[in-house]
Symmetry: C2
Subunit: 270 residues, 2 copies
């Protein structure tokens, strides 16, 4: 593999995944990953542009940012690209009125959206709210529509909490796709539109940007398909087999965000 200097040359902006990179979530609120608080602070001081690009769909951005600030991170709501606000834009543009299958914590993001007489379903990481009853209700809404539209906030397979691996929204999206014989529209990583909106908000072109994430497919593969570079951290949902993934090869694998930032500060153009 090329030297780090070559691999990181010309990087001007950094997109950071949040869960599994900054912190591991959990019922107790979760915990910062060792070294990540300082790594974000150093990155922000470095002159590189920084933006957070998350598929978090259990917590509204305000609550997520509040939690991270409590852990010591320097982060504000305006720096976060997240799927719920992106989905609201889509719903408005297309006159869609959603039935929501989402976690209680994210409902407030949809406060301004008309939800009467639903003509689509929006699914997000609902956690314990993925009950049979709630899944069945979403299924029935879709089956009653002439042109069923299913919008999924991300399509992650699973994520890691302090208590272990947890099923993510992608699994339940697949269940509804199969039951209804339809294909969901994904808003969030790895959708190219989503990465592009994050790049635009950061003000950096794809070839000058690098994504740092724990998901080999959603973060690394998705960013690379947009023309960005991407590093995978060995924290969060990382599994050793990811380094031999049949389809996706990261531009580099690092132990954690702290190591990624060390390398970036050494080798990127500031």
């Amino acid at each position: 593999m090329a030297e780090w200097g070559e691999r990181l040359a010309g990087v001007r902006g950094v997109l950071l995944d949040i869960s599994g990179v900054l912190y591991d979530g959990g019922e107790d609120g979760g915990a910062a990953i060792a070294g990540s608080v300082e790594a974000v602070a150093r990155l922000k001081r470095s002159g590189l542009k920084v933006r957070f690009c998350t598929n978090e769909s259990q917590k509204a951005r305000g609550a997520l940012v509040g939690l991270l600030r409590q852990m010591g991170f320097t982060i504000s709501k305006g720096e976060v690209t997240a799927p719920a606000p992106a989905a609201c834009l889509v719903l408005r543009e297309r006159g869609l009125r959603p039935h929501l299958l989402v976690h209680e914590g994210i409902r407030s993001e949809f406060d301004q959206i008309d939800m009467s007489n639903p003509n689509c379903v929006v699914i997000a990481d609902a956690g314990e709210d993925f009950s049979y009853q709630n899944m069945n209700k979403a299924f029935q809404v879709l089956m009653e529509l002439e042109n069923p539209v299913l919008i999924s906030l991300g399509k992650g397979r699973y994520y890691k909490e302090t208590s272990g691996l947890k099923l993510d929204v992608g699994a339940y999206m697949k269940a509804l796709e199969y039951a209804c014989g339809i294909k969901a529209e994904v808003v969030g990583k790895p959708s190219p539109e989503f990465f592009k909106s994050a790049l635009k908000e950061m003000g950096v072109d794809a070839h000058q940007a690098i994504m740092i994430g724990d998901d080999i497919v959603g973060d690394v593969g998705g960013a690379q398909r947009c023309g960005m570079r991407a590093l995978q951290v060995r924290t969060g949902k990382f599994r050793p087999s990811d380094e031999h993934h049949p389809e996706v090869k990261a531009d580099g694998y690092v132990d954690n965000l702290a190591e990624a930032v060390d390398l970036l500060l050494l080798h990127s153009d500031k």
Copy 2:
């Protein structure tokens, strides 16, 4: 389309799906479909061989037969081919110790199976037991196995109860397949092994047998791929679009089991 006489010539044995053909299930136990009790009785008196071939995986065979007898059907446990007993054979043959994600009502079928230290997951139509917690547990068991084995009792998309459409096991099978990056093994319709075991138990060759079901893919398509003929009834989960299915064309569509039996008694060889 050819005349019924031609389409039904040489039929000597009839496989009957249960749910959606004999009765529609429901929280209240469900209700016989009009004309089906008499149709089964006439069929049995006709000299044609009859066997029941179901993907029912919420109720043990004894309970299912008991419910049907209460509704007036003439049926015994030994006439029913069902996925749970078939799965038990597979588990024994391969030394598999299952973690069960199934409905309480079917656990008794696995009474003789070693379930210590699980090395596979068996999933069935668990209904309300498809909680996030139970799905997550099954997911975690699979992710801890070096060679994860997922056995699914059928792969139906949905079925119809008296209260409406309900998600079937296939949707949850797809969720676990996607989350774990694996392919499930299906025991039940439309698996060819399952149809063949039903034919063997009935003592009739595939080309002399006909399947009657409400599922265009699971019943009709599956039986046809085994060399059988198949009729779809317009009861249960039938939807008008099934008659224009892109991949499967039944040998005939009938309003209900009573009409199917009328035609069989007129045209088949007894």
